[in-house]
Structures are given as C-alpha cells and as structure tokens.
C-alpha cells in the first residue's frame, strides 16, 4: 500500500501497467516491484525447482525471486528483475515458471515430493539405464527446467557496442562513489561514474539519514548537479559495470531502451568496453537474509528492501510488519516504519542485549523459526527462548547483515578475505590491478566512514595520476557502529532457504557435506547453490557458513567460490551487437558485381567475396547446361571472367628479386623484365602454402598474384618473412588487391577481342606466352599479362578499380560479338581441372611440392622457406601423388571426397590408396574427370582401381591417368 508523504515518486504522473493480465496503476519513479507492492500484489513468481510461490525479496539487481517476462512477440525479454524494471505507461509484464497460473501452478507438485528432489537428486536418480538419459531424462529435465522463455523468433531490436576511455572509472554512485567522483573530477581527471539505477545516490535514496545537514538524497542531488557541471566527468546511469578484465578494461551494460518505448534509432542496450587507468569500486553492500523454516514466503524480504520501498517509493510492503535481525541496522527499518505510521508488530533480535527506540514489542534473544500462508505471509513463529509463539503479520523484514559487493575484485581470480568485525568478506587489495574498493564495498558500514574512505581513495588515485585532489571537506554524516552477531540458520521445523532462485536449503548444504562434498566448490556444484542468474549474491556467504558449521571448519578455512563476470546478466544480443548477418561476415564485392547480378548470375561465396557461378541464358534449365556452354566458349571462341579476387601484392625495392627467391621455391631474380613466372610457395614445414604467378614489372618491381583463398595469409607471410627473418633485404610489400580490377580474357579469339579495345594492338611478338607489360585500354593506363588458367590462349587485363565496371561491360560486349561471353566459377573450375591446374582443393595443407609433381621446382641452389624441411624423410618418397581419374565406363560418376581402393578385397581404411579432390564433367572429354592423390600414383598410370564413396554409397571403376586432360603439349597456350 502507498504511504502518504513518502517516496521519490511523482504522484502527479500515473502509469498504467499490467501484470499477469490484470491492469494496475503506479507512478513515474516506481519500479515494477514497488508498483505491484503498492497494489498489494505480493506473489510475483514461482521458484525454479519446487515452484514455490515467491514474492520480492530485495529492491535491487540481486533480486532472486521476482523475475518476470516483459513484452511479447519477437522482442519479449525473460527473467527481467521486477526490482530493476522502471515503470512506464503501457508496460506489460508476465509471470514465469507457472502454469496454468501464478496462483495455481501444476508443478507445485514438486514441492510435495521435495524429499526426492534434494541435493544430488539428478545425479542419483538419472544414472541408469544409460539409454534413458538421452531419450527420457534429459527431455524431461529440459522441459521442466529453465525460468523464462525466449520467443523463438529473431530479435529485431537494435543492440549496440561502444568504447570509452577515461582516467578513472567510479563504479557505483552511492555516497562513496559520489564523493570519489567529485574529488577526482575537481582534481581535473577524466572520470566516468557509472550506476545501475536511473538516479544517483545509491542507499541514500533509500534512507532517512542526513548528510551534511540535509536529507541524504538532497546531498546526493547536489553532488550530481556538481558533477553535471564538470566537463571532465561523464555520468552513466542505468549502466551496470559487469566485469573487470586485464589491462584496466571494464565491461558495462547500459540499458538505453528498457524504461519506455525505445527512442527512434536508439538501441535497447549498449555494451561498453571502458579502458581505464584506475577504477574505484564503490558498489556498496548487499543485505543477506537469514535461513529459517519456510523463510521464502511472499512477504518475507530484507530489512533494507523494506526501507527502500518505504523511503524511495512510498510503499509499505505490509500493513503489519515484523522486523527480524542480528544487527543494529535492522532496527532502522522498525524506526522508519513507525515514523511513517506503519504498524510494527515486533522487533525480533537474535542478540540478548538490545534496545530499540520504537514503541513496538522488542524481543531480544529471539528468533523467527517458521512462517504460514500459502500464497503470502500470514503468520510467523517466534522462538522466544521460552517457547514458540505465533504472531500475525503480513510482512517480515529480515537482516542477517551486509555483504560488501566484492564481486568485481574476484574477476581476475582474487579471493576476498574474511573480516570478523562485520562477519563478511572484504576485497583483497590489489586483486584487480588499478581497482581500489572504498565505502561499504570495502567493509565500511557507517556513512561517515564511507565518505572518509572514498575521499582517501580518491586523493591517493589523484596523486598517483599526477594530480592533486582538493582537500576533502567531509560532510557530517551518520557514524553509528555497525554491531552484528552472526546468525546464519535460525532453525525451525521445515526447509530453510539459502538460495531462493535455485531452491537450495540448509538441508541440501548439510547433505552435501555429509556425502563428502565438503569443499565449497564441490558443495556449489552438488547443490547448485549460487549457480542461478543471481550468482549467489543473496546466498553465498550464508551457504558457506552453513557448510563450515556442518564440516566443523571455520568460515575463512572454508573459503568462497569465485565470482565471475558478468555481475548481472548480459544479453547475448548486447555482447554480439553488430556481429549478426552482414556484420558477422561483411561482403566483398567485385567491380563487376552490378553487371553480373544484372545478368541473373547466381552468386557464390568465396571467403567474403561474392563471385558468379554461371551466367544463365534463356532456355537453359540446369547449371550444367550453362556451364558446358561457357566452357565451350572459352575452348572455341573467347570468355571473360572477373579474377580481381585473386590476391595482388606489389613488391618493390633493390632486393625484391632476392626476397622472392627466398619466399618462392623457384628463382625469380633471373626473371626478365616483362615476363611472368609461375611460383610455388612453401610453409617452413615443407608443405605447400600457395601458388600463383609473379610478374617482373621493372628492375626493382614485381607484381605477385596469390589464390583468392590465401591472399590474406600470403600477405601476412611475406610481412613475416621480411620483418622477422630478412630485415636485411631492402624491399617494400603492399597489398593491391582492391586497387586493381582484373579480368581473364581466355580463348582462341582472346587477342582479337583485346585488340578491339587496346589503343595499340598486340601480337605474339609483343606479348608472347608469359609476357606482361603496360597497355592503354580505351585511354586508361592498364596492365596486361599473358597467363592462362584455362589452357587456352589467354590474358589477364587489369585497370584501376574505378574503371572495372565499364571495362567488364566492354569486354563482355566484345566477347559476345565474337561468339563468346562472360563465364563463371563453374566453367572456370571445369577449365582448370581439364588442364590439371591445382587449387586449394589439392594444396590443402598436407601436400608437398613432391606430391603435386613439382618437386623439381624446389631449387637446391638457394635457401628458401620450407626448402630444408621439404627434403626430410617422409616427404619425398612413398607418398600419395597427384593423378587424374577417368571413369572406366563413359557414364561412370566420379565424386570429390571419395576414396580409392584396390579392385580386389574390402574397401577399408587399411587398404586406402588415395582420394579424389576435384571433379568436373568435362564437355571437352565427354565424361566425368577428376584430380586426386594416389599412393605412388605417377607410376600407376592406366591402372584400374575402385572409387568408393562410403558416405553417399557410390562405387565407380576408375582408371588412373595424367592429370592434364586437354592439350597436354600446351600448343593452345602459345597460339
């Protein structure tokens, strides 16, 4: 219910929303949780395992119970904490993990059979029979498990990632963070202050205490205004720092579009990487509950959360409230409630000597040991030390003490240390280099101490970064001594919850200890404590305290499990922002792309490039028809193909020739200017890396081509060889792949075609086979290479990329006039297989120069990369060698990937003779043809063998042949 005169909500701005199909009203400044409590809705969810009715436990991001689904359709978001969801007009929230309704949930049956579902249940029950695991158990568990559900459709919402740099990142904008940020800002440092809430102030927004003679929230607002005036301070609200990483980098999630309709063009969330020199952890502390029987009913919540609902949101979470604690801080809840006119039924303190300045009944040395109320708290049972008596209440505020938020200090393997005075863990200094904790995160509990430690940390950091911070003027603040006597398990008849989200009870932890899962890491995995989405924020310390008790060890000896990033859940959509679809694999398009697509050519991917498969013509119904026609054009007339995707590397310098001699197996320093040579490149381990042509453009200038697939790898390799192995060579290397558009013009009429476009005609003298030189193409300075990947009289003509589109159109028009035209990758592949030219299907990383029949290309007269290792035993004899295959019968089918076996005996691995790498139907030969490798194949020409494709169930009788199927003498090349 609302409490008049309390809260920071705007009562003039009502907000309509719905939960579980019912409509409600709240105010601007509410969270979904506070608005539901204001409407007396206590039941907000069902627990994970037992489907127990649950209400809100906290008022922050650590909330384990009140998880809801927001929105519907593709963008619906599950597992949103009602405590963090800002209320907006039209908000639609749905409960999770309950069917058919929140009030009547069928799987509540799990709660009745809970004795069978305790820790280790899955491990013990689903052990056998083994076959049941996949078919029965796992589907059953998967169906019952999990909290909210995704829509299953593509999320159309926009997510973003961003980068920020600063001197100091201040994490948390409570009293410590505000104090530190202001001092660091005044010192002139570049500061980012991040806080998960939409308003700065932290706990000061939830308390009635004064700072500097004014309301704490007013002091916070004043500092916030100061920070707003500093150009060197960036304030990031709704931003959770989720992880600490190497080198001063922090991850942070900014919720940009969760508090209302997403503004036009804005993302829902932005994932930030923040590069810092120093960071201040001012993340405060989280209150922990106390375990007692049935402590999980809606209406039982932390004492600090009750103050937050009352003071920040103007909501009393009950009409008759009891307070139960083991520390003085809990008493503030009773006092605040009484001051606001809410009935306090009792203050129950487990310590013997306590006095609380309230009118309510104060029960010292007493404990709450049980609760009643099916869908919400109705009654608590109090063990007064002289017997158990009931008390009618509808809300119980519990405080087991406060745990400093040490999480980020553990992200690089740091372990927090036990501090007995606050019965909790505090950060180990230096656990994350550059990150210093202050305030409650460092274990300071009184506001005066918090401000003092923040000021101290800020001036140390400022001095460290060469600035002097102004003398801290510490505002007057509350300075109580935080007195606490540990109480972890108050007992009672029935299960007492530790981990609300994963339904782990004190009994589960004790059972784990009994079954010898006594190490804290084992206990965690056996019981699943701390493994839910809240990462054990509410339960870790209490669970290990119960474990310590069960094993008879102390808490420091028991230790903690490791907190890992993220601090609170981060949507994968935010982490992967920008990396979906084309963001994951950008398109590289050639200059002929538009003209190619206009001719209806189906495009295939070659790495990131897109290249045409074939250019269909009217009447053709299969790709083979188009491909055969294009092959015929090249063999009989002329074809044009964009080969710009091949790597082009420009190599210049006095030592360019020597450099190429070192990276290629064969010699290039002797190549004459105006000539092209085929080159083979090895890896240092002696296997083939890549092949291609290299042209000598001038005395000190070479132009290298690589395969499309290896262009990047070869460029990197050349840089490596030059910089790491041969910096003595005076040579410069640069990739020019994108700068030149290059087209193959292939076929008996290729020279006729070119002469129609070249400003000065060429002939066999000026451009013999393997010649190269500058040409003028329709007035544009270009390059011409007489090289062939088809076995035909062919050229490659290159112009600066900006002329690529028009040159392609001109070349194709000329080719068509000569009875040919454009050809695609399918035809290119057929043409090269017919000639026995290799690609990365053959040089796949395990083949040597010897294997592909180029052993003699590895010059022994000079050193080159891979030369020594290529000569080692095992790489030069008894190898699988490159051969051609023909089907023994003309209709026989050949398949790439199939293996080769002897004619007699079984086709089993031990008898494997080799494999097929490339297959094409050759319109020139009239049958399927193939390339591949067969053991000692060069000496087995004419032998008949079995091709077996075990995957596709095909078998063909094949005959080994020379890998060159067409024009083995090469007469056409020179024509």
């Amino acid at each position: 219910m609302r409490v008049d005169g309390k809260g920071r909500i705007d009562r003039s701005a009502t907000r309509s929303f719905s939960f579980a199909g019912k409509s409600y009203q709240g105010f601007a400044g509410d969270t979904l949780a506070s608005a539901l409590l204001a409407n007396d809705v206590r039941l907000m969810g069902r627990s994970f395992k037992y489907h127990r009715p649950r209400g809100v436990l906290t008022a922050g991001s650590e909330e384990p119970n009140a998880l809801v689904t927001i929105g519907s359709g593709a963008g619906q978001e599950p597992n949103v904490r009602a405590t963090m969801q800002e209320l907006y007009e039209g908000l639609e929230a749905r409960p999770q993990n309950a069917w058919p309704s929140l009030d009547w949930d069928v799987l509540e049956i799990n709660d009745l059979i809970s004795p069978f579902l305790s820790a280790g249940f899955y491990y013990k029950t689903f052990m056998w029979p083994k076959a049941f695991w996949e078919k029965v158990y796992e589907p059953f568990i998967r169906n019952a498990a999990g909290l909210g559900a995704l829509s299953g459709s593509d999320d159309a919402d926009k997510y973003d990632k961003a980068f920020a740099h600063c001197d100091v990142l201040v994490i948390g904008a409570g009293p410590a963070g505000l104090m530190a940020a202001r001092m660091l800002g005044l010192a002139g440092l570049d500061v980012i202050l991040a806080d998960e809430s939409w308003e700065l102030g932290g706990r000061l927004l939830s308390e009635t205490e004064e700072v500097g003679g004014q309301a704490g929230s007013d002091w916070a607002a004043g500092v916030a205004a100061d920070l707003g005036d500093m150009p060197n301070v960036r304030v990031m609200t709704r931003t959770t720092v989720t992880g600490a990483y190497d080198g001063g980098i922090f991850g942070a999630l900014e919720k940009v579009g969760h508090h209302g309709p997403v503004p036009n063009g804005a993302p829902r969330e932005t994932f930030w990487r923040i590069q810092t020199k120093r960071a201040v952890l001012a993340a405060g502390a989280l209150e922990r509950p106390i375990a007692f029987a049935n402590n999980d009913r809606p209406g039982v919540m932390t004492a600090g959360a009750v103050r937050t609902y009352l003071n920040r949101y103007g909501v009393a979470p009950g009409r008759k409230i009891a307070v139960f604690g083991n520390n003085d801080d809990a008493h503030r809840t009773a006092m605040d409630l009484q001051d606001a006119g809410v009935e306090v039924a009792a203050v129950i303190d487990s310590r013997d000597d306590v006095s609380v300045p309230v009118d309510a009944k104060v029960m010292a040395g007493a404990r709450v040991v049980g609760t009643k109320g099916r869908l919400g708290l109705r009654e608590i049972m109090i063990d007064t030390g002289r017997g158990v008596r009931p008390l009618q209440v509808d809300c119980l505020a519990v405080s087991g003490g406060w745990n400093p938020s040490v999480h980020l200090t553990c992200h690089m393997n740091g372990r927090p240390v036990w501090e007995p005075s606050i019965a909790s863990f505090v950060p180990t200094p230096g656990a994350v280099p550059g990150l210093v904790a202050c305030g409650s995160a460092a274990g300071d509990m009184a506001t005066a101490d918090v401000l003092a430690s923040a000021a101290r940390v800020a001036s140390d950091i400022a001095a460290d970064l060469g600035k002097s911070a102004p003398t801290a003027e510490l505002p007057e603040a509350e300075g109580h001594v935080y007195a606490i006597e540990p109480l972890w398990d108050a007992g009672g008849k029935g299960r007492a919850w530790l981990d609300f989200q994963n339904d782990v009870t004190t009994k589960d932890v004790r059972q784990a200890a009994k079954e010898n899962y006594a190490s804290v890491e084992h206990m965690k995995r056996y019981t699943t404590q701390g493994m839910a989405t809240d990462q054990g924020k509410n339960s870790n310390v209490a669970a290990l305290a119960v474990l310590a008790d069960a094993t008879g060890r102390g808490i420091p000896e028991t230790g903690t499990t490791t907190f890992r990033p993220p601090y609170s859940p981060v949507a994968l959509a935010a982490l992967g922002a920008g990396a979906k679809g084309k963001g994951f694999a950008p398109e590289r398009l050639t200059t002929s792309h538009a003209a190619t697509v206009a001719r209806n050519a189906p495009m295939i991917e070659a790495g990131l490039w897109y290249r045409p498969s074939y250019f269909p013509q009217a009447g053709e119904t299969t790709w083979r028809e188009s491909c055969d026609r294009e092959v015929g054009w090249v063999r009989d007339a002329v074809g044009v193909c964009d080969v710009s995707t091949l790597g082009k590397i420009d190599i210049q310098g006095p030592d360019a020739g020597a450099f190429l001699d070192f990276v290629y197996t064969n010699t290039f320093s002797t190549l004459k200017v105006g000539k092209v040579r085929y080159g083979l490149m090895l890896r240092e381990d002696g296997h083939v890396m890549d092949d291609g042509t290299c042209a000598r453009w001038g005395d000190t200038h070479f132009v290298m081509t690589t395969t499309t697939a290896a262009a990047g790898q070869v460029m990197k390799h050349l840089d490596y060889v030059h910089q790491c192995l041969r910096p003595d060579l005076d040579v410069s290397i640069v990739s020019a792949t994108e700068q030149w558009a290059q087209f193959a013009v292939a076929g008996p009429k290729s020279r006729d075609l070119l002469n129609a476009l070249l400003d000065a005609p060429i002939d066999n003298e000026s451009f013999p086979y393997m010649g190269c030189g500058p040409v003028s193409v329709a007035g544009v300075a270009g390059r011409l290479f007489r090289i062939s990947f088809s076995g035909e009289h062919a050229y490659e003509v290159a112009v600066p990329a900006r002329y690529g589109d028009s040159l392609f159109r001109m070349l194709v028009a000329q080719a068509e006039a000569l009875g040919g035209g454009a050809y695609g990758m399918e035809a290119l592949n057929v043409l090269r297989i017919e000639k026995g030219f290799i690609t990365h299907a053959e040089i796949h990383g395990r083949t040597t120069a010897f294997d592909i029949g180029m052993g003699r290309m590895v010059s022994s007269k000079k050193d080159c990369i891979g030369q020594t290792m290529a000569a080692r035993p095992g790489l030069v004899e008894d190898r699988e060698e490159l051969v051609g295959f023909r089907p023994a019968r003309p209709t026989g089918k050949l398949l790439a990937g199939a293996h080769i076996y002897p004619l007699d005996g079984d086709a089993v691995r031990e008898r494997d003779q080799g494999y097929i790498t490339s297959v094409a139907y050759s319109p020139t030969v009239g049958t399927d043809i193939a390339l591949g490798f067969v053991r000692n194949g060069r000496n087995r020409m004419g032998e008949k063998l079995r091709m077996m494709d075990h995957l596709r169930g095909e078998e063909t009788l094949v005959e080994l042949c020379d890998p060159v199927f067409v024009d083995p003498e090469g007469g056409r090349l020179r024509g």
């Binding site: 080198g247 910089q723 910096p727 290792m869």
Partner: protein, 93 residues
C-alpha cells in the same frame, strides 16, 4: 588490454594477433641438421611468467612485433619492432 605498437602507439589488443614464441626469429642455417630444425619448428618454451612473443599488427600497420608479456599476470611489459630485434641479433652474430 593495449599493446604499444612502436609505429601506431597504444592500440587495442584486438588489432593484434599472437603468432607464437619469438624463437621463430632464430631461423637455423639450411644445413643445421634435422635435430636443430625440428627443435626450431616444433618445440616452444611455455613459461609461467615472462615470455617474448611475436605479435602481428594485422588490423593496424602490419608490423610484426616482439611483445614481452607475463603469462601469469597478463601484463604487457613492452613491444619492439621484430625487424629491429632481428637486426640486433644479426649484428650480435
């Protein structure tokens, strides 16, 4: 994390690729024998502590660097151009 490229300055680590131990700079003589070559190609020190590694600034200037870093703390202790390191090695014989 950042690596200070001698050419580009402080750059995000994602612009670089780790290319293995800097012992790759010590390419043996072609006739050094199988044992030496096997050692060069296949065996690497993998210390818990300070290591010299080759890193390639592929998303930047293309320089190959010798980066000194601590494999335990992930601290980057320095970066030099591999060509300078190699030249020094040659000069030192």
């Amino acid at each position: 994390m950042k690596i200070s490229c001698p050419i580009c300055g402080d750059r995000d680590i994602r612009e670089f690729t780790c290319m293995g131990h800097a012992s790759m700079l010590n390419r043996p003589d072609p006739h050094a024998g199988a044992k030496v070559w096997n050692e060069y190609l296949h065996n690497r020190e993998n210390p818990a502590g300070v290591i010299d590694e080759l890193w390639w600034h592929g998303q930047g200037c293309g320089a190959w660097l010798v980066v000194t870093r601590n494999t335990v703390t992930h601290e980057i202790l320095g970066a030099r151009l591999a060509r300078d390191v190699k030249k020094e090695m040659r000069d030192a014989g």
